[in-house]
Symmetry: C2
Subunit: 324 residues, 2 copies
């Protein structure tokens, strides 16, 4: 077994799942070796196509992800799956079930599945998911599926890592129309009505189509989000879903938006990293110098307010950087 | 109507809901005036008792919050409610219903309700909720209830703003046992089994009690989280819940943990503010200097990797701050 980051990078580029798993653990642990390894892998990233799969809890995203994976595999493409759990005490328990459920796919050597439930990741889950995507990309996966529960800002951020975002809805959850009102149009490139054999599926499809129509009129976008029907548990409608995703990919490439989106992502990621690291440094310095401790005492006794403290500290950093 | 921050601060200290609403809007908009106003209010904060109410979607948190508010009002205390929505496209729609539902309480001049659905708040929802709590505190509310869906890191952070955290569960959601496994014990000071007249309530109570018992043995905490039963929709069990909250408050005060918790919160809040402001400043500087733009080009062409970029920029900041 390789022991240093250089060896790990080489083994990941050869397709070693074990080496990838180790690197991801390093990333989760903020281990120094992760950065060395990532630095070496970076030039080999950017090739994989990234698909986000999001939707309400209970929409059957995991089943859909698995079924879609089988279709992609039939097309001869290698698949990486990143299952992001919002790492909440209320939902954390679902992961174990996912892992068991995914064991069938896990036997396919060209499928790599990674569940992420880490909380408190420096820079948030979006940064973490972005890093894992890079590892799977370097690992040689052609398509990377990011499955995430569509709740909270964190998960919306994760979607930003994707080239194509599929929003999964199901009839009967009751929140479908609400969701459509509340800004879902902005993130959906492809809609999937899962459990399309259930009562209410036709109406849900019609409602989504009506909203898409309205949205197109309002915003005159070049891409009209298709509404797919699927019964993921029976493997129905997945080929069509994959075709929709491929169409969106073609649209992005032809329109030049693919490059634009990737560029924005790279910019956002860089900022996020710089921010995370800078804050770590500032915090360490504030703690080491006793400055934070002293300030907290003053804040507690109301001799100081946090707004003035914030101004003071940031101004100090700013003025010191001007003396260059 | 007052026009400057000084006037607004004075009016908030006199109890004006309108002035408070304006200030909160300023906070949401990152308006400069907010900071001036908050600075003036800060010495008048820290008096209110803050109660977090969290739990799975569908647990009846809103109804419980309303019913609890009535009990607290009967005790002659003024109540502020902060209803935090994770501002997701999937759940954002729920807010309107909440507002309508809460209209009964809204007629009580000693109750102030604020829904928060803002996304992208600099520094996250936890910072935002913390600020709103300060406003309601300065407004003279005795008890502030923060109602939040317990999904995602953001919501767990919000709970950190609370002195006492109530975790609401209901029979039949199926995720109760999972939740108990997944770290909920760490955040719950008081459990509430809502819809306690439903099938499965007894078993759920028994399970929670067993877990609490195990937890006490494991960690030997000074406080044993009580398990309350309630039927919020009929106003049953709310007096007992309020007594549990009061007991926890007394425990915190007697044990010295109240001060300790508040101190940690102040420290965390200060760091969070510095974090947010630093990010704004760094981003502005990187954008203004064209440094970010140039770096992104190099990142896109893989001439540079983001890890080296991060190191370079943070090192520049560090070395420049040493020249003081």
């Amino acid at each position: 077994m390789a022991v240093n980051p250089v060896d790990y990078a080489a083994r990941i580029l050869e397709g070693s799942h074990r080496a990838a798993a180790r690197l991801i653990s390093w990333l989760e642990d903020e281990d120094e070796r992760a950065y060395e390894c990532m630095r070496m892998l970076y030039p080999h990233t950017g090739r994989a196509y990234v698909v986000g799969i999001t939707g309400s809890p209970g929409a059957g995203k995991s089943t859909l992800t698995n079924a879609l994976t089988r279709v992609i595999r039939k097309n001869g493409l290698k698949v990486g799956i990143v299952a992001v759990d919002p790492s909440s005490p209320f939902t954390g328990g679902a992961l174990l079930g996912d892992r068991v459920r995914m064991s069938e796919l896990a036997e396919d050597p060209d499928v790599y599945i990674r569940s992420m439930a880490t909380r408190g990741f420096l820079g948030g889950m979006a940064k973490a998911a972005g890093e894992v995507v890079k590892v799977l990309d370097a690992l040689g996966k052609d398509v990377i599926l990011i499955e995430t529960v569509g709740v909270g800002q964190d998960e919306v951020d994760i979607v930003e890592v994707a080239d194509t975002t599929c929003v999964v809805m199901v009839p009967g959850l009751g929140d479908a129309i609400q969701s459509l009102k509340a800004g879902i149009m902005e993130i959906a490139d492809v809609f999937v009505v899962n459990k399309a054999d259930h009562v209410g599926a036709d109406m849900l499809c019609a409602e989504i189509c009506a909203r898409v129509e309205m949205d197109v009129q309002l915003r005159d976008r070049g891409w009209v989000a298709p509404v797919n029907r699927a019964v993921a548990v029976e493997g129905v409608g997945l080929e069509e879903l994959w075709l929709s995703i491929e169409s969106h990919r073609k649209y992005l490439l032809d329109s030049g938006k693919f490059y634009e989106k990737r560029r924005e992502r790279v910019s956002r990621e860089a900022l996020r990293m710089i921010h995370g690291d800078l804050f770590r440094v500032v915090r360490e310095q504030l703690e080491r110098s006793g400055r934070l401790e002293a300030a907290v005492e003053e804040l507690m006794s109301k001799k100081l307010d946090p707004y003035s403290l914030m101004r003071d500290i940031v101004t100090e950093w700013l003025s010191s950087s001007r003396c260059k």
